[in-house]
Amino acid sequence: MTSRGTPSRFLQSVLQNGVGRYVCQLKRLSIIFSKNAQSSLGVRGFIEEGVVDYAKYNPSTVVYVSPQSCRIPKIVAEYLNGNVREEIVTSKTSIQISEVLTKLTNQSGLDIIRLRKPFHTDNPSIQGQWHPFTNRPPCIGPIRPQKQDTEQGLSNI
């Protein structure tokens, strides 16, 4: 887990999302579970109670419910920038699954890797960034070659 061996990114928002209107970045949710296994008990309970309310509350997200014969129930979240995130929800209660769903809704789709800095600005400098001439006093008059006496001396010789 070196900093060069693992990928890292800078903090950013997706197209300045919250500044004007807020667009929920979660595009599609697929809940994969099994009808009869023990591990999907919480998922089945959540689908009985909470899925419809969740889908009404988030009209911009499409929720797919797909019962399959699988050993591990999963929630697959797809985001607007194309990233796909899978959460495994074996043996979770329906309250925990709703917490997982709120977490997935609030995420933007950017990769969850090391952030290089916990801040980001587009305009870091307001007073003008420092350059070597900021604190130098401006010179008075035009810049000319100085010594005219020695030139006259050379021309005499």
């Binding site: 900093s3 060069r4 061996g5 007073q127 003008g128 420092w130």
Partner: protein, 149 residues
């Protein structure tokens, strides 16, 4: 003839060797030479890399602080002050900015840094007058600031 014991001689010697090797070699993919491919060499190299990463996390804090201090020193020398004088007078005037923020101000906000240097200079002059003059009343505004803890 029936060969019954032949199938008993076939053994599966651990089905996960590929993944165990990949777990280590994937951390060595950006190395030079055979250490990014061969497991025996990669194990040693990856262990060293992790040790250096652990040590480096503690050293990074020291390096960043020395960088900030040298930047603040250079900026304050442009305004005719030295680093220890600046920091001491800023703490006496209860300006609790840390070195990271002051170095960022010196780079992106040069006029704010100039005003900080002027505050420190004024506090320094008040300190000199208080020491030399020995007057009973406090000299100026900056030395009357209550030091917050």
């Amino acid at each position: 003839m029936v060969f019954l014991s032949l199938s008993c001689w076939i053994r599966s010697r651990g089905p996960d060797r590929y993944w165990k090797v990949q777990e280590i070699v994937k951390n060595a993919k950006h190395f030079r030479g055979r250490k990014n491919r061969c497991y025996k060499l990669a194990v040693k190299a990856v262990r060293r890399a992790f040790v250096y990463a652990t040590k480096g996390r503690r050293l990074k804090k020291r390096y960043m602080r020395t960088l900030w201090i040298s930047r603040i020193a250079a900026a304050s020398r442009e305004h005719g002050m030295k680093y220890p004088v600046l920091m001491h007078n800023l703490t006496k005037s209860s300006v609790q900015l840390n070195r990271r923020v002051i170095s960022d101000l010196a780079i992106t906000e040069p006029r704010s840094f100039l005003s900080l240097a002027k505050v420190a200079r004024a506090r320094q002059q008040e300190g000199f007058r208080a020491a030399l003059g020995d007057g009973k009343e406090p000299v100026g505004v900056f030395s009357r600031v209550v030091l917050l803890q």
